[in-house]
């Protein structure tokens, strides 16, 4: 895992007791986590009374550094040791490192869920049912999950027996492929 100098600089600022007092530090990390995770709390840090008397510019810099570290650490799945390594380089005191790690280990799964939801994919087939209309034609309706939409969407098409068999064969192939992958 690598971070840029600006982030490191801002992190060192966050670890400096002259800028961020000890009592604020845990609050700052928690606020950063909340700000990343929840839309409601994105600006919660701005009017948090815990940070009264802290220089706003320094606070903002420290906050940005911590947010960057949180996101990068969650992205690379860095464990507590790795984080301690980076924080030690930024001259954090052991208590602060511990505090950071305690908060981060709790929030890491949520962070990773959040990061995991970034991406793009085809509509996801959820359920299907077939109706036999005639001897040879099948009406197929597939329920799909489309990225970014909460409701299930529906895809409908008709096909003949051979086409249906073809489709089923393809799906079976795909399943087999997955199973094979899982075994290697």
């Amino acid at each position: 895992m690598e971070v840029g100098t600006t982030v490191l600089e801002n992190l060192s600022l966050a670890g400096d007791t002259a800028h961020i007092p000890d009592k604020c530090f845990d609050q700052l990390v928690k606020a950063a986590c909340r700000g990343v995770l929840s839309e409601v709390d994105r600006n919660a840090i701005a009017d948090d009374p815990a940070f009264k008397g802290v220089d706003k510019a320094a606070l903002k810099a420290a906050h940005s550094g911590i947010v960057a570290l949180l996101v990068e650490a969650a992205k690379h799945d860095v464990d507590a040791d790795g984080i301690s390594h980076i924080l030690e380089e930024c001259k954090f005191s052991p208590e602060r490192i511990k505090g950071f790690n305690d908060i981060f280990t709790v929030q890491k799964p949520s962070m990773q869920i959040l990061l995991g939801s970034i991406g793009n994919s085809r509509p996801h087939i959820r359920a299907n049912h077939m109706e036999r209309i005639n001897e040879a034609v099948y009406l197929i309706s597939l329920k799909t999950e489309v990225p970014g939409q909460d409701e299930l969407q529906e895809v409908q098409f008709t096909c003949s027996l051979e086409q249906l068999q073809d489709l089923v064969g393809k799906l079976k192939d795909a399943t087999k492929c997955l199973e094979k992958l899982a075994q290697t």
Partner: protein
């Protein structure tokens, strides 16, 4: 042998042979068990082996099965003596051990291959993907309404995984503005910027328009910075150091180079186009360029100020003009034609005036140029005249003084001579002094020059060294990173490896065995040395004996001719010698016999191990059974 048996039994158990817990040696194997274990091994090695799992009850079938087992084992490449149905059916321990050792060795070893070399990261990744997929496949289907945001909670390692695509969204990043060097001691932050940071800049998590873009933006910003740093490092290492400039100078030079390149390109392009408006466009672009360079020189604060300024000036003029035109157009409310005509007249008048003015201007210009030229000439003339006047004045002064001196010519000549002499002396003095000053100065100059060249070369050397160090640093860092990765890989590999207790036990046993063998070898060596020394002693003793005998023999023989008593003694001596020789021979023979006895005992031991009697009994039993079977069959045939 116990160790071997244990290893064999362990491997047999591990391939799924049903061996009871209290069996710990091959001696305890029954015929059924031997056959079952052999079949298990063969099936494990060769999947299509067509063998029944257990011994059939019929004697002939048993015989056939034993034969086919022997066949399979031989096909696999067993070269340990003759193999037949009797090996399995009427077993003896040593042979069975050999066969099982061979079979166990032939078993496919999966674990041995993986342990050989550290796996690449891609293999590890594949493996993680495989385990993840396996875990997900093993779970039953769950309707989407039961999952919150497509996340499925599970008990295994990460505790969750994503199913379905309903909550996915694209990666979309925006620009984030991060506060720079707020607490830095080296860079002084301007007051305005600090104020902006503290009063107006929103927090990072609140900067994007849509909150969901925050994480992608943060990642993007970090990645961009990291890659920029790497790029710069690379460039600085390659060409930056060689230029022998400071980082700042290097950057400035590069910037000016790029600007020059851009403007050159633009000019070339414009020349190619060669259009009326392209000239304007070019000018505009050049202004933009100028403003850009201005901006970069003057820093962030005056961002685009000059550009804005020139723009304002340009457009301001245009605006004024248009305003004037509009005003002119609005004032007289005449008819269309009249206005048209008037305008044309006005335009014509103005044009005339303009041409007049231009011609006048040109004339004036020419006049001015002429005047300037003539003025310059005049100036020159004045200068030369003044110079001449000065020269003449000087000449006059000299002449006047000479004339003054003329009346008292003799005196004055001697005086002048003295003055000339003293001046010559002074000149010489000065020259000597100058020499005196000059020599050390030249010396100093030379040393300094040498020093500077030395310093130059030293700087060069240091630069080289610096470069080498940088390369080394990078190398070491790379190596460290590589090693760290390897260590991580190995760690994960180690964690993933089945913690087989047997493995360590085996290694310990192997070490013990090796130590034992070493000890034994040592003992054997000792005994060999002992034997050799004894042999030597025996040899020397027998030699001594021989020699003593010969000497005594000769002595006594010489005397024997004279004395009867000595003759007798000689006879006794011969007899004694003979007897002693017999004695030693007997002792040797005894040794040989003893050895033979021991060999025979060993043979008896091995033979008794072979369970000949029991096997014989079994064979006779089986023979009887076979006879019975045959008789039954004969009876059946006869009955038909």
């Amino acid at each position: 042998m116990e160790e071997v048996d244990r290893i064999i039994i362990h491997s047999l158990r591990s391939i799924g042979c049903d061996i009871e817990e209290d069996i710990y040696s091959l001696k305890q194997f029954s015929t059924e068990l031997i056959v079952a274990a052999a079949v298990g091994c063969i099936r494990f090695i060769n999947n299509d082996a067509d063998l029944p799992a257990t011994l059939p009850p019929g004697m002939s079938a048993r015989f056939r099965m034993g034969a086919s087992l022997a066949n399979y084992v031989q096909e696999m490449g067993y070269r340990g003596g003759d193999l037949g149905y009797q090996t399995f059916l009427y077993s003896n321990e040593a042979e069975i051990r050999k066969i099982f050792m061979f079979l166990v060795e032939k078993l496919p070893k999966e674990s041995a291959q993986t342990a050989d070399e550290p796996l690449g990261s891609s293999v590890l990744l594949h493996r993680t993907i495989a385990t993840e997929l396996g875990a997900e496949l093993s779970l039953p289907w769950v309707p989407p309404c039961l999952k919150q945001h497509g996340v499925r909670v599970r008990s295994k390692a990460p505790g969750w995984h994503r199913e379905g695509a309903s909550c996915m969204r694209r990666f979309h990043a925006c620009h984030l503005s991060l506060p720079h060097s707020v607490a830095s001691l080296t860079v002084k932050l301007p007051k305005e910027q600090r104020q902006y940071y503290s009063d107006h800049l929103p927090y990072v998590t609140g900067q994007t328009k849509c909150h969901k873009d925050t994480t992608p933006s943060v990642m993007e910003t970090t990645a961009a910075e990291v890659s920029e740093q790497q790029e710069w490092e690379n460039e600085w290492n390659h060409s930056g150091l060689a230029s022998r400039l400071s980082q700042k100078d290097y950057k400035a030079r590069k910037r000016s180079k790029i600007q020059k390149m851009i403007s050159d390109r633009l000019q070339q392009d414009a020349k190619q186009r060669e259009g009326g408006e392209s000239g304007d466009a070019l000018r505009d672009l050049q202004q933009v360029m100028a403003s850009v360079s201005q901006h970069t020189r003057s820093g962030v604060k005056t961002k685009g100020s000059r550009f804005a300024h020139t723009e304002k000036l340009l457009y301001g003029k245009d605006e004024e003009k248009t305003m004037a035109q509009i005003g002119a157009a609005v004032a007289p409310k005449d008819t269309e034609e009249e206005t048209q005509r008037k305008r044309e007249e006005e335009v014509a008048g103005l044009r005339d005036e303009l041409s007049q003015l231009t011609t006048r201007l040109e004339q004036l210009d020419i006049d001015m140029r002429k005047m300037a030229a003539s003025r310059q000439q005049m100036d020159e003339a004045v200068g030369t005249a003044a110079q001449q006047a000065k020269d003449k004045e000087e000449a006059f002064h000299v002449k006047k003084r000479t004339l003054d001196l003329l009346p008292d010519a003799q005196n004055n000549i001697t005086k002048l001579q003295a003055v000339v002499d003293s001046s010559g002396q002074r000149l010489l003095n000065l020259a000597a002094q100058w020499e005196k000053h000059r020599a050390p100065l030249i010396e100093q100059f030379r040393t300094l020059r040498q020093l500077s060249s030395q310093r130059e070369s030293e700087a060069q050397k240091q630069l080289e060294e610096m470069k080498a160090f940088r390369a080394k640093m990078k190398e070491v860092a790379d190596e460290a990173r590589h090693k760290e990765e390897l260590q991580k890989q190995l760690m994960s590999e180690y964690e993933r490896m089945t913690k087989d207790v047997n493995r360590s036990a085996y290694t310990r046993k192997i070490m013990e065995i090796v130590a034992n063998i070493k000890k034994q070898k040592h003992e054997i060596d000792k005994i060999l040395i002992d034997t050799k020394s004894i042999q030597k002693e025996i040899n020397s003793l027998s030699g001594k004996l021989d020699r003593t005998f010969t000497v005594t023999d000769e002595l006594i023989f010489r005397d024997a001719k004279k004395d009867e008593g000595v003759k007798k003694a000689y006879r006794f001596l011969a007899a004694l010698h003979e007897n002693c020789e017999l004695l030693t021979k007997t002792v040797e023979e005894t040794g040989v016999i003893m050895r033979e006895i021991r060999d025979l005992e060993d043979q008896i031991e091995t033979e008794s191990h072979k369970k000949v009697l029991a096997n014989l009994e079994k064979i006779t039993e089986d023979y009887q059974q076979m006879k019975k079977e045959n008789a039954g069959l004969m009876a059946k045939i006869k009955g038909k």
